[in-house]
Symmetry: C2
Subunit: 186 residues, 2 copies
DNA sequence: GTCTATAAAGCGATAGAC
DNA sequence: GTCTATCGCTTTATAGAC
């Protein structure tokens, strides 16, 4: 990785936090400028197409992170059950036990969904598919694996909403633990 | 109900749709003016404190609707199982099989959560409590009823995210049906 | 009560100096 | 590359005519 590529990664990480905290509509260039430490001129040098490009690249970088750190390990783990356990652990860490919101989920619920529909779909389909593959390796039939995987991802997104709404991170970690237990057991 | 109270109800309904579609930050007075059919001057005559008051009253009206049409029936149904079935049916109808988003959930995930934290909490606590009361009447022990109720509400919110993300309303209705089955059975 | 006109501030985006 | 200055537009909110 070159030096400028690494710097771009740092900028995308800061951008992601701003979009997470304020949503696409609420993330102003003033907030972005403050969070990244770059003036507007520099930001438009990095992202000629402005805010939309920033969000698109952030979503792409999040998807990349999940592919590398969650989906691929889930598919290639020698023990699928351990792979699933690692997924839940990584998910709890990534979302800071529910104190950090899922930007892709926020975009899915918001008005900007139409602009980023393809990226939103890719993210969730990737998650469901990788989890379903692990469940099949655990012996589940194709349809059951898909259905259970979709439901587990749904539970994670729901847990983020409820944890934020009740302002209680224990709700999130508990929901994840129960989801995992349910997934491996039945 | 007086004539002006009914008119205010109509305005709040139109306001709710705008906030649902664009979020708190994205709901501009221009959009609100178009949706309600009132000029900005009239809007500030109805809501002297502007956008924040509009959203606060919308959230209050949503909570009132859920108390009247979901929480209270859930508590007073002669058959708790039928009360729960009615809740799921009303929920599916209210959210238009997942094509309509939950404004309270959207607010919970967004930056405006801090402003409306109390109202968000009231809404979800009211739902969980009412559902837990029905489950207790079905024979569940106190802790189990609470835990299962919280999980069911979590599933509804998660289903809204996934249905919007995958752009598939079948996902929502199917998730609700499975949630209901799971809740009454075990 | 409802409107139009307008204020004051903030918005995304661009130009141009360095 | 990064900045400051600025454009043109939109934002929330207010004032005042009717």
């Amino acid at each position: 990785m070159t030096k400028t590529e690494a710097a771009r990664g740092d900028i995308l990480a800061a951008l992601a936090e701003v979009f997470r905290a304020h949503g696409y509509e609420g993330a102003t260039l003033a907030l972005i400028s403050e969070a990244t430490g770059f003036g507007k001129g520099s930001l438009y040098n990095f992202f000629p197409d402005g805010k939309e490009q920033m969000a698109a690249e952030v979503l792409a970088s999040i998807d990349r992170w999940f592919v590398d750190n969650i989906y691929t390990p889930l598919r290639t783990a020698s023990d699928p059950a351990k792979g699933i356990a690692a997924m839940y652990a990584a998910t709890d860490a990534y979302f800071r036990s529910g104190q950090r919101v899922c930007l892709v989920g926020v975009v899915a619920l918001g008005a900007s969904r139409d602009i980023f529909a393809a990226k939103v779909k890719t993210y969730f389909v990737g998650w469901v598919d990788a989890l379903a593959a692990a469940l099949r390796r655990l012996g589940d039939e194709r349809g059951a694996a898909r259905r259970k995987a979709e439901h587990a991802v749904l539970e994670i997104q729901g847990a983020l909403v409820i944890a934020r709404a009740l302002d209680d991170s224990k709700v999130f970690s508990r929901a994840l633990a129960e989801s995992q237990k349910r997934l491996v057991k039945r």
